[in-house]
Amino acid sequence: MIKLTTPTRPTRLDELLDARFVARLSALDLTSRKVLAGKMKGERRSKRRGESVEFADHRQYVVGDDLRHIDWNIFGRLDRLFLKLFLEEEDLALHIVIDASASSDCGEPSKFLLMQRLCVALGYIGLVNLHRVSVTAIAGLALGPDGQPTPQLMSSVRDLRGGRRLADLGRFMLQLTPGGPASFTEACKRIAIARRGKGVMLVMSDFFHKEGYETGLRLLVGRGFDVYALQVLSPQELEPDIAGDLRLKDCEDADLTDLTITAPLLKKYKQTLAAYCSRLRDFCAAREIIMQTIPSSVQPDVVVLDYLRRKGLVQ
């Protein structure tokens, strides 16, 4: 929970994604509960009829249809022209939204580090399976014109495809500096407006947004994404280890709260946290968002190979 003064920042890609993990990820592919239309030719079955080898349906010939697709066997039997339709295989759009606000940079181990690693891992899966991978970071710091880090609303990298683009993804992730207040609703609105096509969206955040996460998530779902939500909480947020008379300062908006840590207060805090997570889960369930809460102390391979596989994001 407590913001670390010297957080661990990975500087190289293999710190985010080591070789053994890569080996295990290579066998996985992304799935979607919905059959979505892609954009380019890919390896996933699309809603469209196209030119794969897999038969889909027949339909009556109309003038202008490609004669190559007429089913001549049926014409011979019935003396009527039918067109053979085949399934189209297209790519899948994977959009990862990562919360890079100051609150993500808290906890030991850092929540942001876990989110970075998950983002790279899932991005790798998407890239090697020829899906379109986009990553959007909400908030975060960027170097301004004066060389000072200034908060920004969001930053993103888009439409990466193929394993070669992993380096681009890694660069983006490594230059990402968490910080600044998150404006979750505004960022979600931008993401929803700027979306191209439909796809799978994974939102990773602690969802501790004072403005509320509801509007943002509703916007994302409303644009036809198959949304997964991953709530990452630090162990210190789950089991606070602070004591005494404290003045708590919110690292995002510098809001101050005076309190004396007492046993009933800690009990109340845990109740409040459980209620908050439960409310989030209920909200997600009502909108077909698959939601999972994970502590930042778990390893990314466990999250990917266990949690997300069970939730059906990868297989």
Partner: protein
Amino acid sequence: MTFLTPLLAGIAAAVAVPTLLILYFLKLRRRDVEVSTTLLWKQAIQDMQANAPFQRLRRNILLLLQLLALAGALLALAQPEIRGELTPGQELVLIIDRSASMQSTDGSPDDPRARQTRLDRAKAQALEMVDAMKEPGLLGSAGDRAMLIAFDTSADILTTFTASKAELRRLINDISATDSPSSFAEAFKLAKAHLRRRIHIDDREGGKAVTFDEQTEGGALVHLFSDGRIPDLSTIRAQREDQVVYHRVGRSDAWNLGIVSVRAERDFNTPSSVSVFVAVQSTSRRARTVDVQLSLDGRVVAVRPVELPAAQTVTAAGATGPDAAAPTDAVQTLVPSVRGAVFELSRAEGASITVQLRHPDVGLPEGTLTGEDLPDPLGVDDVAYVILPPARRLSIAMVSEGNFFLTRLLRSMNLARPLQVVPPSQAQAFIESKDLATYDLVVLDRWLPTRTVDGTPTLTLPPGRSLVLGAIPAPPLGLTDQGEAGATVALNWRRDHPTLRAASLENLIVNKGRKSVLPDNVGGATVVLAEGQDGPLIIEAADITRSAIITTFDPVQSNWVFQSGYPLFLVKAVEYLSRGGIGEDALTVRPGSTLTQRLPQDAREISMTLPDSARVPLVQSDAGDVNFGPVADVGIYTLAWQGTPGPQDATDGTTNRRTVAANLADPAESDLASADSIALASKVVQAQGDAQPLGARRLWPWLVLVALAVLMIEWWVYNRRVAF
């Protein structure tokens, strides 16, 4: 409630309270912690505040508790007291009755079966009072001081005014009951003597009159712890400012059977037959029967039941109390019933007689007990002792020209052999003959043997015991005769002397006396018994070989011969001399008084054996007296010495013994009903209730305890709040 040191507490409060508040503010400065979000914490706090009642109180409950504890400590520092009867710096006189009646076992008012003595109860009350005494304040204000007096017949100052509670407690615990009757006068005088006086200084030059009250405040606060059975209360004049507080112990319905008188007398004609008279007094409101048991030298010889009727309550109507302004209504007085028992014995030798009351053994009834249900609470008056001297008849010789009255009187005294009357012409030869030693006593009527000392003939006493009438022996065992004198009356005489106790000299007029003076160097061997205008009228003189009672005037030359006192004096003098200077009732003594015995002048290694078998060595005075006292316990006191025995002393050749009996035999002391009030000569003092708060109750220890308790609660609350 008052505070002894409010200033100190105020200063401490002025320092401590702001300090605590400042400390609390310092404590409220919180550690800054940057967290990911305050969202959940705010919600948690809001929820808790919404759910918890007394939010404002709860927020600062630790401060409140600390302030409470501090307030307790500060109040304790101010030393608050609940005021009772005492005022600051009071001087108390605690007077504790230790007389025989305080041995009664009805002291515990709540549990009659406990058999606590009245003295124990009185001591407990006195200890309570000592505990309630104010201790000196921290800033030097004076504490209470107490003086402790214990009294029975006499009074002892156990300590003068002291503030040391430990000392007072120790001394109170050391008080033990005696078998003596009670007399409050001496104790009260002692108390008054030690209280400070008011000094008035009229400073005319300074133009103002100043009164220094040497005593800090108020008058004497005399606390009397007693059962109120004190006969001489009516002689005590308490002044207006003297506050006498009477703390009553014992039950007002207590009863008692006691021996109030015992006497053994030999028959005049047959001295070997002895009558023992025992008087038993009952203050019970029920008729009671008691066995009177008589023992001779420790052997029981007779038991006689005595039936005692119930004591009667007499109402004296219209009686007026000593407070003239407040005439009391009808006064109820309990008149004890007295019955006697007579034992006839036959015994020629001397003996010690023990009379004892044997109560029938009845158990205690169930339920609420009244005083009448309890057994006789006082044991000390259930036993009495009499020393019976051996039966003896006297042989008397008389030198006289012929005194008809004297001859008749002496002849009537049941003598061992007929009275030998020697005329003065043959007296000198008689005195110098060996015959003289065969007589117990010689009566010399206006004659004394003459001896030549330094060439001049002087009158001297003959050897042995003699009663001299109308002649003055010369010093050293006598007086310096200064010739004839005129008429005189008796100005002063020893009323307590055995020879004069019955013979009043009030109406004595000596027509023709002699002027004489007691030489300075005579010392104690010659004692003046009666004194007139021109010198001694009656003297007693004794040395190792001689003892005599001498009247310096001729009784025939006075009106004494026509008065009944004269024959009484003669008979008592004869008996006194023949017993070797021991009075008729000198073998009994009352507890509380001094035991005085005259021993032969050559007595050595004198010791006294007490009833509890302890031996006390005694020293003889110049006059031949030994004194022991005050006698504390009833029982037999045995005096033993080496040398010549007295005429009636038991002897085994080397060691001589004389026994003296000490009996309570006091009707007033045997009346145990605890008095509701004591009537002094000047005021009536009502008894204080047993559970009356006695004085200032110090509260600071309680406040410190409260402060400690609050601190513990504060610690608990704090721990409950921070515990994980």
